[in-house]
C-alpha cells in the first residue's frame, strides 16, 4: 500500500495541486462512465441544495388526479393526493443527502482523529482506542438503531447523521491508524522531529496529506452507507414516518399504498428507488476514479 505522490518537503504545494488536477482530469477522461458519475453526483448535490427551492410550498397538486400514471407532465405519476412524485423525490433528497453529509463529516473527523492519534501516540492509549474501534466495527449497527428508535425519533437530519456517524467511524480509524503506522515505519516522523517540527505541524502538514486520499475515499463510502442506513430505517417503518424522505416514500409505497399488490402503484415506489440507485452508481463511479487517481499503480499501462 503506497500513498499518493510522496510529499517531498522541498516541492512547492502549488505544483502538486496543478499536477493533481491534471491527473484527475486524465483519469476521468479515460473512462466516460467516470464523467457520468461526477455529473450524477453534481446533479444530486444541486438537487439537494437548490431543488427544494424550485418548488413553491405547499407543493402544487391536483386533488382530482391522485395516483396518476406516469406522463410527460408527471414522469413518475402523482401520489395519493395528486402531488407530483418527482417533486417529492427532489424535495426529499435534502434530508437524505444532508444526513449522509453530516454522517460522513462525523465519520471522517472521528475516524481520522482517533486513527491518527492512536497511530501517532502508540502505547497503551493506542491499545484502548483500538479495542473501542473493534467494538465499533463489530457492533451490529442496524439492530441497535432500531432499538434506539424506540426512545429517539431522529426527526432532524442532524440527529440522524450524528447517530449514524457515531456508529460508523471504526473502519476509517483503523485504516488511518495503519497508514500512520506505516508512515512512521518509513521514518517519516523521526525525520520531521529531526527537523525540529512541532507536533501539530507533523500531524497536520506531514501525516495528514499522504493519508488524505484514504480519508476522501472513506468519506464517499460512508456517504453510501449513510444513505443506505437511513433510507432503510425509514423504509422499515419502525422509525416515525415524518416528512419528506425517500425511505418514508418507500415505506408508504409498500405498506400503505400497495406498490407490491398492484403494478399501478409501482412508479411511486420506483421513483425513490431509482434515485437511490443513481446516487449509489454516482458514488461508486467517483470512488472508482479516485481509486485510480490516488493509487497510480492501478493505472493500466
Amino acid at each position: 500500500m503506497t500513498s499518493g505522490a510522496p510529499t517531498g518537503l522541498s516541492t512547492t504545494r502549488g505544483d502538486l495541486r496543478r499536477n493533481f488536477w491534471r491527473g484527475v482530469w486524465r483519469v476521468l477522461r479515460r473512462k466516460p462512465s467516470r464523467l457520468l458519475g461526477v455529473a450524477l453526483m453534481l446533479m444530486f448535490v444541486v438537487m439537494a441544495t437548490a431543488g427544494p427551492m424550485l418548488y413553491q410550498r405547499p407543493l402544487p397538486r391536483d386533488p382530482d388526479n391522485f395516483f396518476a400514471p406516469p406522463s410527460l407532465q408527471h414522469p413518475f405519476g402523482t401520489d395519493f393526493q395528486g402531488v407530483d412524485v418527482l417533486s417529492l423525490v427532489v424535495v426529499g433528497s435534502r434530508y437524505v443527502l444532508l444526513t449522509a453529509f453530516i454522517t460522513a463529516v462525523i465519520t471522517v473527523v472521528l475516524g481520522t482523529g482517533i486513527g491518527l492519534f492512536a497511530g501517532f501516540r502508540r502505547g497503551r492509549l493506542d491499545a484502548v482506542l483500538m479495542r473501542i474501534t473493534d467494538i465499533n466495527l463489530t457492533i451490529p449497527g442496524l439492530p441497535i438503531l432500531l432499538v434506539l428508535s424506540t426512545v429517539w425519533q431522529f426527526a432532524s437530519p442532524w440527529e440522524m447523521g450524528l447517530v449514524l456517524g457515531l456508529l460508523g467511524w471504526g473502519a476509517l480509524a483503523r485504516a488511518v491508524r495503519s497508514q500512520t503506522l506505516s508512515l512512521r515505519e518509513r521514518g517519516f516522523i523521526e525525520a520531521a522531529r529531526g527537523l525540529g517540527l512541532s507536533t501539530p505541524h507533523i500531524v497536520f502538514r506531514e501525516l495528514l496529506p499522504p493519508i488524505a486520499p484514504y480519508i476522501a475515499m472513506n468519506l464517499l463510502m460512508s456517504l453510501i452507507l449513510a444513505v443506505w442506513a437511513q433510507v432503510g430505517l425509514f423504509f422499515l417503518g419502525v422509525m416515525p414516518v415524518i416528512g419528506e424522505n425517500w425511505g418514508v416514500m418507500l415505506n408508504r409505497a409498500v405498506f400503505d399504498f400497495g406498490a407490491m399488490t398492484t403494478a399501478a402503484r409501482l412508479p411511486y415506489m420506483l421513483a425513490p428507488l431509482l434515485a437511490l440507485l443513481l446516487l449509489t452508481v454516482a458514488i461508486v463511479l467517483v470512488v472508482d476514479a479516485m481509486d485510480e487517481v490516488f493509487n497510480p499503480r492501478l493505472r493500466e499501462e
Partner: protein, 617 residues
C-alpha cells in the same frame, strides 16, 4: 410489525369495539327459547377454508387467556354466546356453548342452559363445572361481569349450579347495569379437567374474601390477580376445544385447524379444515385477496384501486355494512389558540372532508356530514330531528376566514398570523402505520397549508406511545376514535370521559382539572348549550349508563348539540365495515348483524359454526 402490526391493529380496533346500531334485525325476545339459533339447514361439507387473523404467534399456547393465544374465538375457543351488542336489547346473541338463556324481568338474574350435546374434543361433555371454573378464571382477569372492585356496576354476585347443564347468575342488586347479561355470555369456557389445577385449591375462599372490604379483601384481590398470571401463562399442551375445530399445527405464518367431530353442531360445519393466515400489515391481506386465496376476510383498510382489483378477481365479493366507529381530530384545549372555539370552528370549515376521505379511505369510510359525536348511520335514531339543527360545517373557506378573524388573527402575504404576530401553526399528530390516519392527516395539513395555515403531520412510532403521550398532553391536535357504539354511554365516553376529566371510581364520578389524571382534552367542565342552559357533559354521559330510553334520547340530543357547538373534536369520517369473501370454494353468507361480533375480530369461525358457510359442489 410494527408497521404493520399497527395497521392491522387499527382494523381490529375499528371492528372490535364495535357493535351495532342502526340496521338491526328484529330483536329476538330473550326468553323465547329459540334465541335466533341457526336453522337446521343442510350444508355441503368438505374442503379447506382460508381466512385471516392478525398477530399469530406460533410459540404461544392454545390457551384462550394467553394474550397471544392460539385458541381462536369461534374456531377452537368458545363463549357461552356471541354478543351482537344490540344498542337497546342487552340479550341479543348468537348461541355458543349455551343453547338457551333466560333473563328475569328485573334484569338481575340470568339462567343459562348449555347445549345438551356440547362436548370437548377429547369426548368429555361440557358441564356446569367447566362454566364455574371459567367464571373463576374470569374473576382473575376482571373481565365481563366478573369484577372484584367494590361497588363496580354490573358485577356478578353469585353463580349457582342448578344441574349438570344449567346455571344461574345473579347481579348485585345495589348497583345493576344493563351490561350484566352481556358480561356473562361473553365468557370464554375452558375445560375443568385441563384448567382445574391452574387455580390454587383455596381459590373459592380467596374469591369470597376478595368480594368484601378492608385490608384482608385487598390482599385477597392481589392473590386473585396473581392467580390470573398463572392462568395467562398456562400451557395446556394439547388443544382441547369445544368449538367446531381443533388446532392441528401452526407455523409462524399460518395455523391449521381441523374438524372437531365432537362439536355439538358439527352437522352445520362445512369445511373440514380451516387455515388462518397471519397478517402483520394490511397489504398482506390485499395480496391474498387479489390472488383469490381467502374465502373470507374481516375489515381491513384497502385503498380504492386495490379494492377494484380485488373485485375484478372472479369469485371475489364485497359486503359493506355499518361500523360504529368514527374518526375525529381532537383538540387539546390547554394549547393556545385551540382553546378558542372560533379557531376550532375555523378548522372545521377549512377542511374539505370529502376530499380528505377520497384520498385517504374512500372504501373504509364516509365523510362526516356534521360533528355530533355519533355515527351518521345511527344519529337519527338517537337524536331524531335535532340533526337538522346542527351546523354541518360544510367546506367553506370564507366562513373559516371569518372565524379566524373573530379569533383576532390576521392574514399577511397569504399566511395566517396569530394576534401576537406569530404564524399560526397546526401540528397534526398521527400514528405510524395507521395508513388511513396518515393519509388523511397529510391531506388535512396540505389543505390547511394551501389555505395559509402552517401545518404538518407528526408521527408517533406506535399506538402505545401515541396514547401515552397524548394522555400526557404532549399533542395539541391528534386523531381520536369517537362514536364507539353500541351503547350510548360508550359513544360519548370517548368525548366526555377520562380524556376530558371525568372518571369513575367505584361507581362514583369525579372530575379532574386539565392536565391531571389523563385529562388531556382540557375542555370546560360545564357548557352553555342553546335551549338547555348550562350542562355538565361528563355527568350526562355517566347518566347514560342507567338512563331509560326516553331520557337517553334526551341526553344524546343535548350532548350532540354541545359537541356540535363547542367542537372538542372535529368529526372526520364514519367508518364502513368492508368485508371480502370468495365464492369459488365456499359460499359465505352471514346475516348483516353477524358481520360484527363484540370482541371477535376473525369472524369466519362463528359464521361456520352457525351454518352460514357451505361448500361449493
Amino acid at each position: 410489525m410494527k408497521v404493520t402490526r399497527i395497521t392491522a391493529t387499527l382494523a381490529a380496533f375499528a371492528l372490535a369495539i364495535t357493535a351495532c346500531g342502526g340496521d338491526d334485525d328484529e330483536p329476538t325476545s330473550p326468553d323465547d327459547g329459540d334465541n335466533g339459533a341457526a336453522e337446521e339447514g343442510e350444508v355441503n361439507r368438505g374442503g379447506v377454508y382460508t381466512t385471516i387473523v392478525t398477530q399469530l404467534d406460533a410459540t404461544a399456547p392454545p390457551n384462550p387467556f394467553n394474550p397471544d393465544t392460539n385458541s381462536f374465538l369461534g374456531y377452537n375457543a368458545m363463549r357461552l354466546a356471541w354478543v351482537k351488542n344490540h344498542p337497546t336489547d342487552p340479550s341479543d346473541f348468537y348461541p355458543g356453548l349455551a343453547s338457551e338463556w333466560e333473563v328475569s324481568d328485573d334484569n338481575l338474574e340470568l339462567t343459562v342452559t348449555l347445549h345438551p350435546e356440547a362436548t370437548w374434543s377429547d369426548g368429555t361433555p361440557v358441564t356446569s363445572d367447566d362454566v364455574v371454573l371459567s367464571a373463576n378464571i374470569a374473576y382473575t382477569r376482571g373481565s365481563g361481569a366478573f369484577i372484584l372492585d367494590p361497588g363496580a356496576a354490573g358485577a356478578a354476585s353469585d353463580v349457582e349450579v342448578i344441574d349438570d347443564k344449567t346455571l344461574r347468575f345473579t347481579q348485585d342488586p345495589d348497583n345493576p347495569t344493563g351490561e350484566f347479561v352481556n358480561g356473562i355470555m361473553d365468557m370464554t369456557i375452558v375445560p375443568e379437567h385441563v384448567y382445574g389445577d391452574v387455580l390454587p385449591a383455596d381459590f373459592e375462599e380467596t374469591l369470597e374474601a376478595a368480594q368484601g372490604e378492608g385490608e384482608d379483601a385487598e390482599e385477597a384481590r392481589d392473590a386473585v390477580s396473581e392467580a390470573g398470571e398463572e392462568v395467562a401463562s398456562f400451557d395446556p399442551g394439547e388443544d382441547i376445544s369445544a368449538g367446531p375445530y381443533v388446532l392441528e399445527r401452526i407455523n409462524p405464518s399460518e395455523a391449521l385447524l381441523t374438524r372437531n367431530e365432537h362439536f355439538h353442531n358439527d352437522h352445520l360445519v362445512a369445511p373440514d379444515q380451516v387455515i388462518v393466515r397471519n397478517y402483520d400489515g394490511n397489504e398482506q391481506v390485499w395480496d391474498y385477496l387479489q390472488a383469490g386465496e381467502l374465502d373470507s376476510s374481516h375489515f381491513v383498510a384497502v385503498p380504492e384501486d386495490v379494492v377494484q382489483q380485488i373485485e375484478a378477481v372472479p369469485g371475489n365479493e364485497i359486503s359493506r355494512t355499518y361500523s360504529p366507529v368514527v374518526a375525529g381530530l381532537a383538540f387539546n384545549q390547554s394549547y393556545e389558540p385551540f382553546d378558542d372555539v372560533h379557531v376550532r370552528r375555523a378548522l372545521a370549515y377549512a377542511i374539505d372532508r370529502e376530499q380528505m376521505v377520497s384520498v385517504s379511505t374512500p372504501d373504509g369510510g364516509d365523510a362526516a356530514t356534521t360533528t355530533s359525536g355519533i355515527h351518521q348511520e345511527v344519529v337519527d335514531e338517537w337524536i331524531g330531528d335535532a340533526v337538522g339543527e346542527l351546523d354541518p360545517y360544510e367546506h367553506d373557506l370564507d366562513a373559516a376566514e371569518e372565524e379566524l378573524e373573530a379569533a383576532g388573527m390576521t392574514k399577511e402575504d397569504g399566511r395566517w398570523l396569530l394576534p401576537d404576530g406569530e404564524p399560526f401553526e397546526v401540528p397534526i399528530q398521527v400514528v405510524s402505520g395507521f395508513s388511513d390516519w396518515i393519509a388523511a392527516g397529510e391531506n388535512i395539513a396540505t389543505q390547511l397549508d394551501e389555505f395559509g395555515i402552517e401545518s404538518e403531520i407528526l408521527t408517533s412510532p406506535d399506538f402505545t406511545v401515541y396514547q401515552e403521550e397524548m394522555a400526557a398532553g404532549d399533542y395539541p391536535l391528534g386523531f381520536w376514535l369517537i362514536g364507539l357504539g353500541p351503547s350510548p354511554y360508550n359513544i360519548f365516553q370517548r368525548l366526555y370521559g377520562q380524556s376530558n376529566g371525568w372518571q369513575v371510581h367505584a361507581g362514583q364520578l369525579s372530575y379532574s382539572e386539565p392536565g391531571e389524571d389523563g385529562n388531556w382534552k382540557g375542555g370546560p367542565e360545564t357548557i352553555e348549550v342553546e335551549g338547555h342552559g348550562e350542562i355538565n357533559p361528563g355527568e350526562l354521559t355517566h347518566e347514560l349508563r342507567t338512563a331509560d330510553e326516553e331520557r337517553t334520547q334526551e341526553i344524546m340530543t343535548i350532548l350532540a348539540r354541545a359537541t356540535n357547538e363547542t367542537l372538542p373534536v372535529i368529526q372526520l369520517w364514519d367508518y364502513i365495515n368492508t368485508q371480502f369473501s370468495n365464492t369459488d370454494r365456499f359460499i359465505t353468507d352471514p346475516p348483516d348483524d353477524a358481520r360484527r361480533v363484540s370482541g371477535v375480530t376473525s369472524l369466519a369461525g362463528i359464521w361456520i359454526q352457525q351454518g352460514w358457510v357451505t361448500a361449493v359442489e
